[in-house]
């Protein structure tokens, strides 16, 4: 086994996904198969190989720190499930 059900449960917590017991069972089998497959990367010796994060070599993209029009509060909030004034409202965080 590449991954146990307990590990899958832990990853689901990290990913903020409330998975049902039967989903956890199915996910464990599927992730195990996929992780088994990706193990083939270990056939390759990558000692001393630089990782590629982006295919096009680029330096940092800088711009002038200039004030420009932005989307505005009304537009930014138009899809919000719940708002309060100019804020996004969420369930209580602090007891």
């Amino acid at each position: 086994m590449k991954i146990s059900r307990a590990e899958v449960e832990h990853v689901a917590r990290l990913a903020r996904l409330a998975l049902q017991p039967e989903e956890l069972d199915a996910m464990t089998g599927q992730m195990d198969a996929i992780l088994g497959y990706v193990d083939k990367l270990n056939e390759l010796d990558t000692e001393g190989i630089e990782p590629t994060a982006h295919a096009v070599p680029m330096e940092n993209a800088f711009r002038e720190d200039a004030v420009k029009p932005s989307i505005g509060v009304e537009r930014a909030q138009q899809n919000a499930p719940e708002t309060d004034g100019s804020c996004f409202k969420v369930p209580k965080v602090i007891e």
């Binding site: 991954i3 590990e7 899958v8 990853v11 689901a12 990290l14 990913a15 903020r16 996904l17 409330a18 998975l19 049902q20 989903e23 996910m27 599927q30 992730m31 198969a33 996929i34 992780l35 497959y37 990706v38 193990d39 083939k40 990367l41 270990n42 056939e43 390759l44 990558t46 190989i49 630089e50 990782p51 590629t52 994060a53 982006h54 295919a55 096009v56 680029m58 993209a61 711009r63 989307i71 537009r75 930014a76 138009q78 899809n79 919000a80 499930p81 719940e82 996004f88 969420v90 369930p91 209580k92 965080v93």
Partner: protein, 485 residues
Amino acid sequence: MQLDNLTISQLREKLASGETTSVELTKAFLARIAATDEKVNAFITVCEEEALAAAEAADQRIAAGNAAPLTGIPLAVKDIFNTIDVRTTCGSKILDNYVSPYDATAIAKLREQGAVIIGKLNMDEFAMGSSNENSAAGSVKNPWDLERVPGGSSGGSAASVAAGQALATLGTDTGGSIRQPASHCGVVGLKPTYGRVSRFGVIAYASSLDQVGPVARNVEDCATILGVVAGYDPADSTSVDTPVPDYLATIKDGVKGKKIGLPKEYFIEGLDADVKKAVDAAIETYKSLGAEIVEVSLPHTDYAVACYYLIATAEASSNLARYDGVRFGVRKDEGEGLIGMYQQTRAAGFGDEVKRRIMLGTYALSSGYYDAYYLKAQKVRTLIRQDFLDAFEQVDFMLAPVAPTPAFKIGEKTDDPLQMYLSDIFTIPLNLAGTCGLSLPCGTSSEGLPIGLQLFGKPFAEGEILQAAWAFESATDFGGKLAPL
């Protein structure tokens, strides 16, 4: 009006001469959608009112004599593009109620030209899939055989063009999501070089791989649309500031004397016999057009799918963290606090494949596994990219199949994610290399299904593969047809 074999530039002449109007054209496509989409399910949203208003404005612009290349041309776009004041779901329940507050740069560029956007196209949820079966809006059907998949994730983008519902469309390609559906639906699809087209306002899946590109019924239309949407955008720091060539100016230059590489790893056992026959015939066509064929090697091809499913899922797990029920999207809250709200919202809003990829990516990035999975995959990516650069030292471009088989049946691979992933074996390496590729029709299977041919170009050599594709298209008679519906 017969729309089968018209190109955008021919239509532009008809619009300019008054032989037709944009309103008339737009109505014709809206009628075709109304008549066929119950079968194909290519559209998530049809923008009838907005399209007719844009068409009227385009007709006025044409009458005033300031038409641009796409003025009055009806197009449709994948539901991954933000389109102001239009619902944008990305094929997901979690964005069921999301109305874009702005336009993606590619959309803004189409609008500046006066293009008419007739609707938003169905897709695999968050562009994750190879069959368009992972959409909250239901599966898209292949117009050539309604029991088969159109390919994915830009299934709607390809199926709508084949069905005659749109003249051309925009899609996105992360691991083959433009080329594979174009191949399965018998249309032309182009994945530009990473950085060629701005991704500002395109809902992110895997940010180091995603790229925007056109799907059309012919090569020339792909070139026209790429010429409009390509270019540097200050709002996308990964877009590259190199000039956009005039793709139409060189498209008819032919392939005489060009060196075409055949990557031997793409001509393997297990390649469907009809696909092999069609691609072999295409090689002969290129020889007869004066190109020289040489064998090349991309030795790390066999590792690309494994590499991709670590990098893409890792990036997806990070990108999709934003769907938390706070600022937009559908919230589910059962009174278990903030974390509970996140967990319930995401569990209810995401489909199975999206959950699976978030889980894989989260695992690959998690403490203790990062080096073994994510970093390892990034190193293998270097080897895959180097394969392409080495091969391009020897040849002008490369030729390969797009998919190992023609379109498979709906439901055939849904129970086995790994088998589904392996159907992208010939398209994924190019995204990892970051260069450009194109799919165009090169034949039909014994069952009457379209087969596509893939061309790989050097970085930013879209002009060269468009030219090669145009030469093939002009010498043969495979594309440009509408599916009988």
